[in-house]
Symmetry: C2
Subunit: 564 residues, 2 copies
Amino acid sequence: MAANQGSSSRNTQSTPELRVIPLGGLGEVGKNMMAIECGDDIVVVDAGVMFPQQDMLGVDLVLPDITYLKENRDKVRAILITHGHEDHTGALPYVLRDLNVPVYAPPLAYSLIEVKLREHRTLRGHDLHEVDAGDVIQLGNISAEFVQMCHSIPDACAIALRTPAGLVLHTGDFKIDHTPIGGKKVDLQRLGELGKEGVMLLLSDSTYAEVPGYTPSEQVVSTALDQAIGEAKGRVILATFASLIARVQQVVDAAVKHGRKVAPVGRSMVDNVSMAIAQGYIKAPPGTVVDYKTLRNLPPERQVIVTTGSQGEPTSVLVRIANHDHHEIAIRPGDTVIVSASPIPGNERVVSRTIDNLHRQGANVLHGRTALVHVHGHASQEELKTVLNLVKPQYFVPIHGEYRMLVAHAELAKAVGISPENVFILEDGDILGVSTNWAEVVDHIDAGHIYVDGLRQWDMKSVVLRDRRALSREGFVVVVVPFDRSSGKVIGKLEVVTSGFVDASETAELVESSAALVHKSLDNDEGKPMEWSYIQSKVREVLGSYLHKQTGRRPMIISVAVEV
Amino acid sequence: MAANQGSSSRNTQSTPELRVIPLGGLGEVGKNMMAIECGDDIVVVDAGVMFPQQDMLGVDLVLPDITYLKENRDKVRAILITHGHEDHTGALPYVLRDLNVPVYAPPLAYSLIEVKLREHRTLRGHDLHEVDAGDVIQLGNISAEFVQMCHSIPDACAIALRTPAGLVLHTGDFKIDHTPIGGKKVDLQRLGELGKEGVMLLLSDSTYAEVPGYTPSEQVVSTALDQAIGEAKGRVILATFASLIARVQQVVDAAVKHGRKVAPVGRSMVDNVSMAIAQGYIKAPPGTVVDYKTLRNLPPERQVIVTTGSQGEPTSVLVRIANHDHHEIAIRPGDTVIVSASPIPGNERVVSRTIDNLHRQGANVLHGRTALVHVHGHASQEELKTVLNLVKPQYFVPIHGEYRMLVAHAELAKAVGISPENVFILEDGDILGVSTNWAEVVDHIDAGHIYVDGLRQWDMKSVVLRDRRALSREGFVVVVVPFDRSSGKVIGKLEVVTSGFVDASETAELVESSAALVHKSLDNDEGKPMEWSYIQSKVREVLGSYLHKQTGRRPMIISVAVEV
């Protein structure tokens, strides 16, 4: 790999002044949690959840493993939140249970976290603070300054950490939108000032580091939505992320212009829109945003519904509508559906299916592949280079991206003049030691993931997933053996049950022949007492080979002894 | 929906002269099989397999359901193959077992089918014919003319069917590449002639109907590969589809130019390349294409490996290399890996993971998102409009695409002047009746899918998939109840086994408490004799509610009676 060529002028004997530890990203390094350690102080940036990948069968959520922080709990001064998205805040209810430290968050993130902690009934006893861009918080020997950035949610901040070792700048998620909705732009001047002062280490968002040029401004989407809503003949149903407050503002603006009213539908959208209106994030003339009961009595050409389901989530309003499964809303001829989001990798098929089903019902569907109804919230290559050149850091670590994106961002950094030996591509759990004259990966800790599965949590070492994968492909066969341990003999009739293995029409015959086969193979040893472990392995071997020959499959085979 | 507004001047009493029936596409209408019926003759176009979607757990392949063809076997004259891709030929070994009719295929498809039938040991007794573009075959009252098209495999053809009702043109998969590799261009003149003669019905590829403009020529890829291979410092490893013969030719050309030799690695790539060289589809100076044993002794800067794995297939050579799991090839510093393919929808994550792992090992990786190392094989909007205007059909049916792509293609057809009431968006199993003066969907047959699972096949009505989905999320709990049917009593100790449900560390405790709970709940009825069905529902109810409360999960619960 091109980066990590080692230290510049390393003194292996010395202790690094600063340690940087990405703690959770599920393939996107440091996306969900990052720890910065200096002397006796640790500051944590973000505490987000990861969404399970398709092979994480049955898993609801994935959390960063905070073992290292718990082992060093006396040092942890605070968790600083860059912005209010789930993948940066969603682990707080779990993390704070084990590590009750102060949390500092910009206004919108603060409000969203408050709602979340209340839902988890863990609000009381927590030490949650609202901070504005420009605020500086002292945390042991580290001071943290929040710097205004711009992302697909309002109040996104970078965090500048002044440590005894030097200045560290963590960008959070960002893009440089010069004409954002809501008007809060990236504070380029402050980034430049910090750069002038001297940034020792820059950690910067790499999500779109493979994409050349600039990410389009939200204004492009405003224009497209205005046109789509203006031209729509009947109702407009727009689906996006519930957290994409700025998008709802754009919809409201277009609705006002074209004489429509807007109703949020679905719990998370209703909650977020009412919070955003109450706190001034969404500005709408009185009577513009109404509830669905009011909206549905208007003529279709005056209705706009905003809702969730842009990722094909099975229980979301849009997917229910697409599947003829919503209790109130059904597609009518003349409806326009706008899917105002890109599919997150892994969701492409379910999003496609949803769009197909909406088309089948006669909706006019606009989506990201056919109309400019969405732009994403991350900086492309020219913006990333702008930040690199404003900040001119001594050391650079690309974060928030899959490995190949980190590689692309590292290449950009070198292209703008950062010494290759000062650019480090880390993986979660790597500990990068940074000092004035050298930097190097000095250690690696186990930064695995914790799976949340219903009410339980388990770690990556668990065999549950392995078993589920096996069951998902070939099902199981359980053989019940009436067994007298004292005599070591099988007494009575074997029972076989199976599920997920063969079609029902074949099950009865296969169960019967399996039972007979196992019985016969154990009969061969009749007379001699048998160990249970012998029977188990015999059943697995005989039945496994028989079933594979019959079906080409190897189901999970489990034997149970019943004492008689 | 915008199309299907009904017939133009319909006579509901009359029998349509022609029936068009898409029979298999797994969401991409008619992609894998299409039947054209006229009087006593049925001609089938293509017989492909579908690749299972992620929720088709454990399924190896999906086949079209040919019940309708079997019910009308006396009418079926032939299966005509448009080109040699698996999704157009892969079902032949299965279909011909049930429906042994003549098969006509262009040269490369013919060779690939021959290999496939030999593998399935079903070659003997089949009636397989090679046809060239321009050939006409008489099939009952229908004559079929093969017309040269251009696609991502050589020898792709459209098929013009002259029926007593009128001329039907089926494009197959195509793009209009004016400078293709191998030189065989779309026969635009013949398409125009057919159009001039009068095409009653056009069936045309819709895969890229949402994409504006033109699909780039393969020449773009030649240029990019030439540059990449010319600039590479060490070995080049290029992964693509084994069937993408033209791509291998491009690699060979660049290798020759830059003094390298080429070795195919992996069974399907080795087989296809040697077949393609033997039959003249790949032209290479003697000694250019060598086996890997020869190649590996050359200096790195003279080596090019072509292999499979561009879709992240777990057992492919590239994925094995990426996972440090290949017996011969490991990434070395200086290697360039070229992923010369786009991920098929659903494969994005596994392809990303493969690219990330190659980067981690220090390879320089080029892929479709960052370099022009792949173009796809389907026509974009301007090409589709060109074909529509060359052919000027009376009726139009967009095929080979998900529903929204068919909608997009239908809009293109209307935009170039085809009467909206003559444009029909079908679903698999729809029967479109076409006559000189009217056309309409006249019927619908069950055109479900057949799942190939190991050695077995089952249809969509089977509960196997439902069970596998349940098992994949929450596992199972089997409760073994020693039960005396004659007295209706539970006698002895219950046993509980589980897998895929909770972590091993919790299993023992949960199994024990479950057994105790069930025992106790059945004890409440002690004295009274019980029916087994009562015990089953009691176990499911008591245990289901207990386990949900304990874990937040609802595993599959099965009780087994053991007679004692």
